[in-house]
């Protein structure tokens, strides 16, 4: 992108100096090569005429926080967009820290766009509340919609999906990723008319009902010859998989349903045969309730696999080792900690192309470790996999020594998320805090964009982070630090920080108020169970009109307690839309003018 920028910079200088600047069409054509949102925003700031030209030709709009701007503002500025991506709730909502009803409703956006943008082609939503009413309105208003991606959304049922299926004749992608859907039954699939054949990608893996309309599914798969991605839900039995695969041998990405069945040779050979006929398969997922004897059925496709999601597969290390040793081209692996250190060592020697690894806990609430998965596994992959860039790792013990080794092995990490399951766990060898270990991570991994901390940590780790993590964009902190100094180091040092989420840390008013201006350069800050007082929240709200300072407190109105009392949860985000009006009773936005304090 640097090359593009130099070019654009030069172009803008020329444009300003010339008596007859480039015609708009030329600039528009040049801008059409600029896809990334960040670059488009930069282009629009060069000068007024570039702002104007750019806004008319922006086709993809990305709104990282649906409350940062209003639907009307977006539609006014970008009259010709075709694709919109919206994000609602803060990330910690994934772990039930954001109470139900907080917000993130998509309906007002759909209403705004329904009138003005009938040609809308793509709608991508993340952590938003989507009702059946919204889905019905989408179905009614956007006849050209091709892509509907709902990621971590909730609030709708399969009735809403039925409306989409019935009306959206041009739909190519329907992707439900980790949504909470009121799954009334599988009959909504039969709402796709028999004449409908454009499906390219269907992901229904999060649907929980036991009822699936198999015949509708099979017919749909059979007639949509462009289908590339199909992720089934757990209800689809294993003996149906062969039928489905035979109808779609062109599949590139496939997710099974339950991977368990009575062991029968005919079912097995059917399945193995069906997998063998899929010559394009690169990604597999699903694998609920795995019966290990059925795993070899996928061996024929393993050598081409680049992505494997076994994070629901409760199979033990020896079977996992056998499986990954068949997959030399694996780039992405999601797996449970049943893989153990030995499995990760095997992974490190078989899968040299590995870029992303996520290891989830099989027994997150157990006190004693139930598997032999320790820091050794992570050290092994960091040493053996030269392309490893992104890690999410749950374990029960860690040492500074291991973290330093990992950091030195893999300076190319861009995402490092470590979760030591017991809060405030010290280095198990030295009983010291893990400051030095995480310090090494930020020092050596200069391209680090995302970091999640855990274990016993003092203010020192934040000193390291503030000093070294200059490219860090997102930081997650829990049960760490000693004082406001910790927060101050991060807010004052991390120049690229956009999202900061903190829980159960002794951070209070001082650092927040001292770095108030910095908050306007970030997307958002979440702090829960910390030590920020109501008084400081009010002050921040008053001083910073371009921030929404939301106090979330289910105990009752914060002004019913002394001002020095810490608030339960605090969500601060920059916005040009002013305070929102769709808040539930337990959310208060701190007003600019103290006399207008909302309650």
């Amino acid at each position: 992108m640097c090359v593009v920028f130099s070019f654009l910079f030069g172009l803008s200088l020329m444009h300003k100096k010339m008596e007859f600047p480039f015609p708009d069409e030329v600039l528009e054509h040049i801008f059409s090569f600029i896809q990334s949102d960040k670059d488009r925003n930069s282009v629009s700031m060069v000068c007024k005429s570039w702002y104007e030209i750019e806004r008319w030709c922006r086709r993809k709009v990305f709104v990282g926080n649906c409350y940062a701007v209003s639907p009307r503002m977006v539609s006014r500025r970008f009259p010709e967009f075709r694709s919109i991506e919206l994000k609602g709730k803060p990330h910690f909502a994934d772990f039930n820290l954001v109470p139900d009803g907080w917000g993130g409703y998509v309906f007002p956006w759909i209403v705004e766009m329904a009138g003005a943008f009938p040609w809308l082609e793509e709608i991508k939503l993340k952590r938003m509340v989507v009702t059946d009413e919204s889905l019905e309105l989408i179905a009614k208003s956007f006849k050209k919609v091709k892509v509907l991606v709902l990621s971590s959304c909730e609030g709708f049922s399969t009735d809403g999906l039925g409306a989409i299926a019935a009306s959206c004749k041009n739909l190519e992608e329907l992707d439900l990723v980790d949504c909470e859907v009121d799954d009334l039954s599988g009959h909504w699939l039969s709402h796709f008319p028999e004449s409908y054949t454009s499906l390219v990608s269907l992901n229904i893996s999060c649907l929980v009902s036991d009822e699936v309309s198999f015949s509708a599914l099979e017919r749909l798969v059979g007639r949509c010859t462009n289908l590339r991605t199909l992720r089934l839900n757990r209800a689809v039995p294993l003996d149906k998989v062969a039928d489905i695969l035979r109808r779609a041998p062109q599949l590139v990405e496939f997710g099974t349903g339950t991977y368990a069945a009575e062991l029968r040779p005919d079912v097995y050979s059917d399945l193995a045969g069906a997998f063998s006929s899929c010559k394009e398969l690169k990604s597999l997922s699903g694998f609920w309730d795995v019966v290990p004897d059925y795993l070899p059925a996928i061996y024929p496709v393993c050598s081409k696999l680049t992505s494997l999601n076994l994070s629901y597969a409760t199979i033990q290390s020896p079977e996992l080792i056998k499986l990954v040793s068949h997959c030399p081209n694996l780039q992405r692996l999601l797996v449970l900690d049943y893989i153990e250190d030995s499995g990760l060592e095997a992974l490190a020697s078989s899968c040299k192309d590995l870029q992303e690894l996520r290891v989830f806990p099989s027994d997150p609430y157990g006190v004693e470790p139930n598997v032999s998965l320790t820091e050794r596994g992570l050290v092994a992959v960091s040493s053996g996999c030269p392309k490893l860039m992104s890690v999410l790792y749950f374990c029960r013990q860690m040492s500074n020594e291991a973290l330093v080794t990992i950091a030195k092995n893999r300076p190319n990490f861009t995402r490092f998320r470590l979760c030591i399951i017991e809060p405030r766990t010290a280095d198990y060898l030295t009983h010291e805090p893990l400051d030095v270990g995480f310090g090494a991570i930020v020092q050596y991994c200069k391209e680090l964009q995302r970091l999640s901390l855990s274990g016993l940590l003092t203010d020192r780790v934040f000193e390291y982070i503030g000093k070294y993590a200059k490219k860090l964009e997102m930081l997650s902190v829990a049960f760490a630090g000693d004082s406001d100094l910790g927060l101050h180091h991060v807010l004052s040092g991390c120049e690229s920080l956009r999202k900061l989420e903190i829980r159960d840390c002794p951070f209070g008013d001082k650092a927040l108020l001292a770095n108030a201006a910095r908050l306007e350069t970030m997307r958002s800050l979440w702090m829960s169970s910390c030590a920020v007082s109501f008084g400081a929240c009010k002050l921040l709200g008053q001083k910073m009109p371009r921030l929404n300072v939301e106090v979330i407190d289910e105990r009752g109105p914060p002004d019913s307690r002394p001002e020095s009392c810490p608030v339960d949860k605090l969500y601060i985000y920059r916005t040009i839309a002013g305070p929102r009006f769709d808040m539930p009773p337990f959310v208060w936005t701190m007003e600019d003018d103290p006399s207008l304090l909302l309650s």
Binding site: E262, E368, I421, A514
Partner: protein
């Protein structure tokens, strides 16, 4: 701003010196100068049995679940926990009856890993000998024949189907004796 003065900006001067050399609050130094974890801090999860027996430690380690910790999504928790712990905690216990015996017994099919062990366990339990199994003739050389009731309610000869399949469909076992047994043994 007043707050900046309070913050003691000198403290933000980055120094990688020894802990405890700055004039930070006592609270901070306790963390830094102790090499061992403080007693009130939970130790790492690799606790040995000795400390597990200590009341104070167990009080901290009984899992009063912290909301949203560890940070995993609910659908992941739902998929895992019921299946695994069910499988781990409860074995596959089936009733075993023997013709003529006054009371029934129970056997855990998870503990015996296959047919030979199952037959040995049954033989020990009821003090009999089962005879030689063959696919063609069933159990030869004994008046006792092990049978089981399957999911469909039919009485089947033990040994005909693969072990995994057997454990998943066996509802109860019955050791048949005498002429009834001979009849069953001859059925293919």
């Amino acid at each position: 701003m007043e707050t900046e003065k309070d913050l003691n900006l000198e403290a933000t001067e980055l120094r990688l010196g020894l802990p405890g050399t700055s004039n930070e609050s006592a609270k901070n130094t306790t963390h830094r100068s102790n090499k061992r974890a403080l007693p009130e801090q939970p130790m790492s999860a690799n606790i040995d049995t000795a400390s597990k027996n200590c009341d104070q430690e167990t009080a901290q380690h009984t899992k009063a679940q912290v909301v949203g910790w560890p940070p995993i999504r609910s659908y992941r928790k739902n998929c895992l926990q019921p299946k695994k712990s069910e499988a781990e905690m409860s074995g596959i216990y089936v009733k075993v009856s023997m013709d003529g015996a006054p009371y029934l017994r129970k056997i855990d099919l998870k503990v015996v890993k296959g047919y030979p062990e199952l037959l040995k366990a049954l033989e020990d339990m009821f003090k009999f000998k089962a005879g030689e199994y063959s696919e063609r003739e069933g159990y030869n050389g004994s008046e006792f024949v092990p049978t089981y009731e399957d999911k469909d309610g039919d009485w089947m000869l033990v040994g005909d189907v693969p072990w995994e399949m057997f454990t998943s469909c066996c509802k109860k076992l019955r050791i048949m004796k005498g002429s009834e047994a001979r009849g069953l043994g001859c059925v293919v």
